[in-house]
């Protein structure tokens, strides 16, 4: 009987958790699965449906060659590609490679900058999704002090 009660209790806790779901659903566009992926290829499949990208020199990825502090690595991505739908940053050797993804609106220029954390030296990929396909470029960033905690 004791065990049965525990189960009921657990069940009601699960229901309570379900009740808080709507708040999560509001941010449904946040690609939880892709962000949770531990391999760069899988993260790209989860986010874009494929890990195949076309290398493009129409994308400019500005990152430092050597980042002394992996906790703050400036990244700037611009592209002359047209009809950009999204821009994503993937750090191949990070525990969770997908760092960020930016959803563009028609009037938004393909020119974004941010700062990311890198655990170790890694290739950084800029992935640009347009109505014509998925394009990317990548650069290696050497990290002297990792920035992923621990």
């Amino acid at each position: 009987m004791q065990l049965g009660r525990r189960l009921v209790l657990r069940g009601s806790l699960a229901l309570a958790a379900l009740a808080t779901l709507p708040r999560v659903l509001l941010a449904a566009a946040w690609p939880e699965k892709a962000f949770g992926s531990t391999a760069a290829g899988q993260a790209m499949i989860d986010l874009l449906g494929t890990d195949q990208t076309t290398a493009s020199d129409a994308i400019t990825l500005q990152v430092p060659e050597i980042a002394e502090n992996g906790a703050v690595v400036p990244v700037t991505i611009t592209t002359t590609l047209e009809n950009v739908e999204s821009i994503s940053i993937v750090v191949k050797n990070n525990p969770r490679p997908l760092a960020a993804t930016f959803e563009m609106s028609p009037g938004t220029l393909a020119d974004i900058s941010s700062r990311i954390k890198m655990g170790e030296t890694s290739d950084v990929m800029a992935i640009v999704k347009t109505d014509a396909g998925i394009f990317s470029t990548s650069k290696q960033v050497k990290v002297t002090i990792g920035g992923c905690g621990g």
Partner: protein
Amino acid sequence: MAGKIKIKTKLTGDVAEIKSLMLHPMETGSRKDPDTGEVVPAHYITQLTFANNGKVVMVANFSTAVSKNPYFGFKFSGASAGDTLKTSWVDNVGGADELETTL
């Protein structure tokens, strides 16, 4: 949670350049507190949204790999002086903040 967003805007023609800075710890969930040795729970901004006069111009989805006190800059066209730019974010534990600025 107010006052944790800083925005700088610059209007050139109809192109607005936005630079934003959020005050947020962006904890990865894998860092250990150096004093207690306990893992600091993940606490990070998941989504940052910009809307100009009510029209969404940018949605930035962040992971824990975005640096502490995130900086984010972008540009959009079709802006004019006097437009209201609303910046808002939500984090993984239900925290949120928003700020309205005039271009």
